[in-house]
Amino acid sequence: MSGLLKSSIGRKVAMALSGLFLVVFLTQHFVINSTAVLAPELFNTWSHFMGTNGLVQFGLQPVLIFGVVFHFIMGFALELQNRKARPVKYASYKGGAAAPWTSRNMIISGLVILAFLGLHFYDFWIPEMIHKYVETHPEDPTRYYAETVHKFENPVRVGLYVLSFVLLALHLWHGFASSFQSVGFNNKFSVALSKFAKVWSVAIPVGFIIIAVYLHFNQIPH
């Protein structure tokens, strides 16, 4: 076991497991967000639960933050190692002849997602933390829906969200299916699993885009 995270394969497996964990999280996040379009009252109920439940706040939330930080730091570490492995570049290199763009540019899509996470934390997470734990307002379980809708008033923000989700889809187009290979799962089920992963990796980001655009065009008075 010792030194597993120092080996190339160990690191790649860690990358895949943290990525898969984020995929599960993203699914959950999407299901809750979809209620903002489908059933605003349910959105309030679930947001209130997620925002106040001790297990979610102090159990799952730190795990999630660790998962994200671990994933992108490991991503940077692998990228640096991989660059070092080819000190002299080719004068002519047809990367696209043998491998798709998405697979060769995970660091680019990843960096866009990271920038998006910065914006997303600034928009939602930091205000939430201040609201709850610094200014300690009394909890109003009906505040979430209106707050969320107002965040999507600004078209520039909606544009940035849409762009980030496109890059997220590209990241997952390669990443989701690839993570099975990384953990050693490649057998007669792989073709079907890979198809599912590709459908998912487009459907979920497109779903997030629809929600953001819908809320932008369905503003409610302040």
Binding site: S7, R11, A85, R86, A91, A97, H174, Q181, S182
Partner: protein
């Protein structure tokens, strides 16, 4: 055919090296790529210049030595062939062809297009063998029945010729396809079980120490491999490696 060749020239391992342009004429479509290189080298020798150094041996696609990165792809634009099996009819009159050595920290250039692939030997020495005495008292191969599916997969993996095209093609210069082929050819057979744990741990350790990159599953290696070694071998090696890490 009239062609323009842009070839990497480098005096020795320490020298800086650069691309040099050579016009060449009278190339026949039925010539192999290496024969075209022979024509060029003859001309260079006749002019009193140094011929281009490149690795080659069998010239029939089995030794794996003819390493050339041609127009941005290992062994050129054709699939499932080595450079010696690549024909000049794959190119058109007037084409410019860029020819470079494999580029990887694990494959330092010795001279011109020739690289040092002894890192592959060291990986093999670390575990790519079985401890069965084969001198004189070899058992009949059919004495141990092996499932056809496993036997075929092991044999497919064993067709790897150690050319290094996988490393050369990979954006990360990863040697995973090569190492996984060498692990898989034993992992699937009963004879390979004795050293299975040490084999995968030691070979991967050596691979990492040689400075090859990590696998991003881009699949470029599989596309450019002259022997069609499959990515399934990499998944198998990942499984073997995880199981071995948990054991020891």
């Amino acid at each position: 055919m009239k062609l323009t060749l842009k070839i990497w020239r480098q005096k020795n391992a320490q020298a800086k090296g650069q691309m040099v342009t050579y016009p060449i004429d009278g190339i026949d479509g039925d010539m192999s790529f290496l024969e075209m290189m022979d024509v060029l080298n003859n001309e260079l020798i006749n002019k009193g210049e140094e011929p281009v150094v490149f690795d080659h041996d069998c010239r029939e696609g089995i030794c794996g030595s003819c390493s050339m990165f041609i127009n941005g792809e290992a062994h050129g634009p054709d699939r499932l062939v080595t450079t010696c099996q690549l024909h000049m009819r794959k190119f058109k009159d007037g084409d410019t062809i860029t020819i470079e050595p494999w580029r990887a920290a694990g494959f330092p250039v010795i001279k011109d297009l020739m690289v040092d692939r002894s890192s592959f030997d060291r990986i093999q020495h670390a575990g790519g063998f079985i401890s069965i005495n084969t001198s004189g008292n070899t058992q009949d191969a059919n004495a141990i029945p092996i499932e056809k599916i496993d036997a075929d997969a092991a044999f497919d993996a064993a067709t790897c010729i150690g050319c290094g095209a996988c490393v050369a093609s990979c954006k990360n210069s990863s040697a995973m396809l090569f190492v996984s082929a060498k692990v898989s050819q034993f992992a699937l057979l009963p004879q390979g079980q004795v050293e299975a744990t040490d084999r995968v741990l030691n070979m991967v350790k050596q691979m990492d120490e040689e400075g090859f990159g990590n696998c991003t599953n881009t699949g470029a290696c599989e596309v450019e491999c002259p022997k069609g070694i499959s990515l399934e071998n990499i998944a198998r090696m990942n499984r073997e490696y995880l199981a071995a890490s948990l054991k020891g």
